[in-house]
Symmetry: C2
Subunit: 367 residues, 2 copies
Amino acid sequence: MNTAKPFEFTLLAQEGRARAGLLHTPHGTLETPLFAPVGTQATVKAVTPAQLEELGASLVLANTYHLYLRPGENLIAEMGGLHRFMNWPHPILTDSGGFQVFSLAASRQIDADGATFKSHIDGSTHRLTPEKSIAIQEALGADIIMALDECAPPYDRAYNEAAVQRTHTWAERCLQAKTRSDQALFGIVQGGVFSDLRQASAECIAALDFPGHAIGGLSVGETKAEMHAVLELVDQALPQDKPRYLMGVGTPEDILNSVLRGVDVFDCVLPTRLARHNAAITPSQRLNLVNANFASDPAPIDEACTCYTCTHFSRAYLRHLILAREMLSATLLSIHNLHTLIHVTKALRQAILENRLHPFIEAYTLA
Amino acid sequence: MNTAKPFEFTLLAQEGRARAGLLHTPHGTLETPLFAPVGTQATVKAVTPAQLEELGASLVLANTYHLYLRPGENLIAEMGGLHRFMNWPHPILTDSGGFQVFSLAASRQIDADGATFKSHIDGSTHRLTPEKSIAIQEALGADIIMALDECAPPYDRAYNEAAVQRTHTWAERCLQAKTRSDQALFGIVQGGVFSDLRQASAECIAALDFPGHAIGGLSVGETKAEMHAVLELVDQALPQDKPRYLMGVGTPEDILNSVLRGVDVFDCVLPTRLARHNAAITPSQRLNLVNANFASDPAPIDEACTCYTCTHFSRAYLRHLILAREMLSATLLSIHNLHTLIHVTKALRQAILENRLHPFIEAYTLA
């Protein structure tokens, strides 16, 4: 019997800065590091929950902005909450809705109190504040919810100064607004590529005693070296005994480099988006399956992969599905791409547990 | 151990004209009556083979016209044949390609020897003859293949006279052309709504000693009474000891009425096509899931249904997926609709085996 408290984070092993742990949630214990598929509109596109379970998913993300607009958080609450609505009885994380609202560019106005925006669906006007974000996320009922933050362009110093300040104020308001004890609220570190801002943001957020921390504003245009420097700085500034979630990051290479710098949780739309654009991810490369080279190729996408797609279908068949515009191609490629990201991350975890992360990475990088 | 010969048809029970049997094929024994999902382009749209197995599919159809044009029968042969290419290790049936070619209307010319047509994909010119149809179907490698026939408009007497004659000549040429012993070639009865033509066609086709027979040219605009009359006539004219396949029929009501008139095998694109148009089939009705009545309906499509969709998802969730234009709606509705058709047909089979078909149908019709 699992007697751990919800949201307790147990570090099982560390190798250098890399960590392997367990994060307990009301819907099950997560093994970290982990990669979480994104189910923007309460569905991981083209994949059933049964297929997600089979390919090894544990945590799934859903999107507060999208679900607030359609079908509405109250409907989802009435249907028993997001876990039941989308039939994912395992852990779920919702974002704050901020990233999508702030991405609306011309259709939103940000002020100190929050943001006013127009729906991308019908142009209607809405207001998002820290309190509103928490209220929506409490209605949705995910295990892990996120504080409202502001993600500024990585090289804009003045904007990042303001965004860090706002993110801090909003983090406090989110903590105040929160009422449910069965959800963990994570605070978010911002600050662009500026080390002093990142340091200040990490210290402020850490001081608020969230059960977990997220690192926002990365993989949005900065260089890999800048990304790694920020991760190293934040790793030192945040407490070691709480989980770290690097938002929106999801190539095998980025996951590997971020695990090496103390990150525990990842999410990204890339595997499913690439799948819908006919691209397959392997640990070492991307294949565009429309390529005529694959027309009569009886091999699977990746000989070493154990996913449903690779154990049952050839590149030639997948290319046929794509050219024939068959929906099954999106399903089969999504299954493969998600499996790849999840299992690369699981393999990193296992290497940390067995204290062989560096040989693992050397072999991996040479492969 | 199954010692039955390939294509042996064993009648296990009869009740009135209705029959329950076993049809042995090189890829497994089929339990009849059965409903076969259609995998036009070597995929049942939006559904994986694993999902097809789970929902109880046995025989799957594929389309010779489509696969000849794309990816080409030679590629499929090179990839190990259709079973391996599409990962359906169970029985497969291919049609002759004729129905699609003849449906091209302005883009095809029929003559006594076959038909010349333009590809719907790139406008290139192709020729389909009885010999060519068999050669393509032999390359594809299905268990059951179909003779090239001509399906005329149901009320056009002169056209049906010519079509019956041509279908007969072509049936003989298909038998001559056939070389593989691990495929069963079925002959097709035509004749529109005209009982003398149907009688003559059935007698001619029966005399050619095919291992199974199909009934073509129904559910193409005639009345239900006319359809039933043709089925009754053909049931008497065809030998009892061979399977009968009613092509392109697939509502619960039509299947029930046709099983009562001696039909063993059905196929139809309707369940998957309706699914992609947001409609769910139940044994007694059709639901359009876009309907606002379902917006906050926590019930499954059909309380009595045991499919993956009905045991895991609400009407409210399915409606959300549809409005959000999520591909998962097509998958979940296809799973449900196929399950319904397959299990209605299985239930008829079980009733025949237990000699309770008439009470079953009475209860069913009242439900």
